[in-house]
């Protein structure tokens, strides 16, 4: 956390601050400019366990600074009273670059995203945002901070200010400058091992990973910000899709909360992006996550169903199925097909994944162990 505070301070230096190698400037919304105090306030809110029904769950429970902002090695997240959801906690790192938030993109911004986990019954489980506002309006430290950052006090403090502060903090959680960045953009030939270099070649070549996990000429976000059905999760509910999709749309038309529906019902969760758009094309589709610091955030996929990076490579190499011969999902996204990679090539890819760890997170993760 200290390291991150430093990172945040570095960002504030503004003109003198350069983005970490391999990353573009962080997009900052015009109506929520960064400031040192706002970031510090957001940091505090992010780690405050009081904003949950049991007083035991903060944002940072599932997005732990020491675990590259995930809850690795949990398969799915654990909220109040050890209740579990349906999805693997996505990292906050570089979420600032994402065009949508959550695995299914049901939220358009970091500010909006921060509203939902407080209320979800399997996350922080508050009945409404009232208890949060009560604390931030009355706690002297918060009151002072909100006055200083937003010039507001008492009833004038709303969830808008709370989520703006949290989002500001999250926009400082960015990570580049990995061995890959130093090799690819910094032209340091010794930054990668020979296996990692071979893995990179597979990544942009036969493995065709780069088509979704984007690398560009001057930057690499490792995501296309799109949604794909890669045969994870949906495969298990394949036969139920017509019933599930119909029942879900019916419930949605009657006003069911999508955020609650997808996190509390495993089968509904597997509808993926469809739950947001109602489009057939989005059945079983989930957002392409960044791969930065992926070696620190096992297990993998939206449902945490794959334990290791090698398992992930095997899944893709089989063309979106766990083992050759399994039934391929009818709605599988084009582009997912058997890759004919050798075990050595998959090992090289895994080695390359390990070259995507940013030094500050490698250190915090090492310390935590």
């Amino acid at each position: 956390m200290k390291a991150l505070a430093l990172l945040g301070l570095a960002l504030l230096a503004g003109a003198v601050y350069a983005e970490p190698l391999g990353l573009p400037p962080v997009p900052i919304p015009a109506d929520n400019p960064q400031s040192a105090e706002k970031i510090k306030l957001g940091d505090k809110l992010f780690h405050d366990k009081r904003f949950s029904s049991t007083g035991a769950v903060a944002c940072s429970n599932c997005h732990d600074d020491a675990k590259a902002f995930t809850d690795s090695p949990r398969r799915v997240s654990e909220g109040v009273n050890k209740l579990t959801g349906t999805r693997n906690a996505p990292t906050v790192i570089n979420a600032a670059y994402m065009k949508t938030q959550f695995w299914d993109g049901r939220s358009p911004s970091l500010e909006d995203q921060a509203l939902y986990p407080f209320l979800n019954p399997v996350e922080m489980a508050l009945p409404d945002h009232g208890p949060i506002l009560k604390i931030v309006r009355n706690d002297p430290d918060y009151a002072a901070a909100f006055q200083s950052v937003f010039g507001k006090s008492g009833e004038a403090i709303t969830m808008k200010e709370v989520t703006q502060a949290i989002a500001s903090f999250e926009r400082t959680v960015v990570a580049g400058n990995s061995p890959f960045d130093r090799w690819y953009y910094g032209h340091d030939e010794r930054a990668l091992t020979p296996a990692q270099v071979r893995g990179f070649q597979v990544f942009v070549g036969q493995g065709r990973c780069v088509s979704c996990h984007v690398i560009e000429q001057t930057q690499a976000l490792f995501t296309d910000n799109r949604f794909h059905n890669i045969g994870v999760g949906i495969t298990a509910v394949q036969a139920d899709v017509p019933k599930l999709a119909g029942a879900f749309l019916e419930a949605k038309a009657k006003g069911v909360d999508v955020d609650v529906a997808v996190l509390t019902d495993k089968k509904t969760s597997e509808l993926g992006r469809f739950a947001v758009t109602d489009q057939f094309d989005d059945l079983g589709g989930f957002k392409t996550p960044t791969l930065r610091n992926i070696a620190l955030t096992a297990p993998y996929m939206h449902d945490g169903s794959l334990k290791t990076l090698k398992d992930v490579m095997t899944h893709y190499n089989n063309g979106g199925i766990a083992k050759a011969g399994d039934r391929v999902n009818d709605f599988l996204s084009g582009g997912i097909r058997p890759l004919n990679l050798t075990s050595q090539q998959m090992d090289d890819l895994v080695a390359f994944m390990q070259a995507l760890t940013s030094p500050e997170f490698a250190q915090t993760a090492a310390k935590a162990k």
Partner: protein, 357 residues
């Protein structure tokens, strides 16, 4: 009066909500006084199932057809029937037609088939006929007269005298840009059958004609063309509402010639560039058509898809389900008397199409 009966019809059952949500179709005027006459059908086309060897087929094309079938089966309420628009196979072979038929057998509902040149030129449609029935025919459904033509015939000399083997004949016609190919036509015999078939039909009956090739002339070099399109159009002229739906072109096209609305349907296999992208030839893409974006070859399903077709006003309203792309709707505009793209047509809503080149 503005009504939205079609949408209301979708909203009847509980499960109907799926369709109402996924298929937001609203119509301005309904020709049928009797609401129960409104109906829909689905249209899948050009799957080009391609045999490699043994039990191996090109996976990419297989996946396209499998997905279209699975999605069509999700429609609620179920479409009254499903059209398959031709080119089920790539080289007309028994394994290809069998494999394609097997995948189509997962469809819940009656399937009507159109002959494509890839189904025909190996054995002149003999095995296809065993599987799917006559090469051309007509049927009536809820007050609409449907005609299915085999529009991919050509000159007898080309078909019977030019090639040493059936396989070579098939291969020569299979290459879209192959100069050894030959223009498609309906032919005298079938036009005479059509004339007689239409004689019995009241001229106010909505007419829907299915062909594989466009019954209009767009670009001869790729056989986006039917040589006797004008005499066929002539036979359709006396009718008040005429719709021609064709496959073959693997892209969205629409047009209005006199009383006839023309629409193409998508392929499930792969998309084709618009003919304008061929720098060395003249072509006539209908001015009405707002082109689709160029496909991204990584996303193998990009710019492929299938159609959901609403017949509520006697004209076809097509909703194109396009993978990796937002769906598009091309519906008949009763004011302008032509099909229009509901989302792309107004300048304000139009997504600037990418250049095909």
């Amino acid at each position: 009066m503005t009504t939205n009966l079609s949408r209301r019809a979708f909203l009847k059952g509980a499960t109907a909500l799926a369709a109402a949500q996924a298929l937001p179709i609203s119509l301005v005027e309904l020709a049928f006084a009797d609401e129960s006459q409104n109906f829909t059908f689905a249209y899948i086309s050009d799957s080009h199932i391609q045999h490699i060897r043994g039990a191996k087929f090109v996976r990419n094309w297989d996946r396209g057809l499998i997905r279209a079938v699975a999605e069509t089966n999700l429609l609620h309420p179920k479409p009254d029937f499903i059209m398959f628009g031709g080119d089920l196979a790539q080289l007309g072979s028994k394994p290809e037609l069998d494999h394609g038929a097997e995948m189509l057998s997962a469809l819940s509902g009656k399937v009507h088939h159109v002959m494509g040149e890839h189904d025909y030129y190996l054995d002149l449609g003999e095995y296809w006929s065993q599987l799917f029935g006559p090469h051309y025919y007509s049927f009536d459904h809820k007050g609409v007269h449907f005609v299915v033509l085999n529009s991919i015939l050509t000159f007898d000399d080309w078909t019977f005298n030019r090639w040493p083997t059936a396989e070579q004949r098939m291969a020569e016609m299979a290459g879209l840009d192959n100069p050894n190919g030959s223009p498609f036509m309906v032919g005298d015999k079938q036009r005479e059958w059509l004339r007689q078939d239409l004689e019995k039909v009241d001229k106010n009956t909505p007419l829907v004609v299915f062909s594989h090739s466009p019954l209009q002339k767009i670009y001869k070099g790729w056989n986006f063309w039917t040589e006797d399109a004008e005499p066929v159009q002539e036979l359709l002229k006396p009718f008040a509402k005429v719709n021609v739906l064709y496959g073959h072109v693997h892209q969205i096209q629409y047009n209005q010639i006199g009383n006839i609305s023309f629409h193409s349907v998508m392929a499930t296999a792969w998309p084709w560039p618009y003919p304008a992208s061929y720098a060395q030839a003249e072509q006539y893409l209908p001015k009405l058509t707002v082109p689709m974006n160029r496909a991204d070859p990584f996303f193998e399903r990009d710019a492929t898809g299938w159609q959901f077709i609403n017949m509520a006003n006697g004209n076809v309203d097509l909703r194109y389900t396009l993978y990796e792309n937002r769906s598009r709707e091309v519906a008949y505009n009763d004011k302008t008397k032509q099909p229009e793209d509901s989302a792309y047509q107004p300048d304000s809503a139009r997504i600037p199409p990418q250049t095909h080149y």
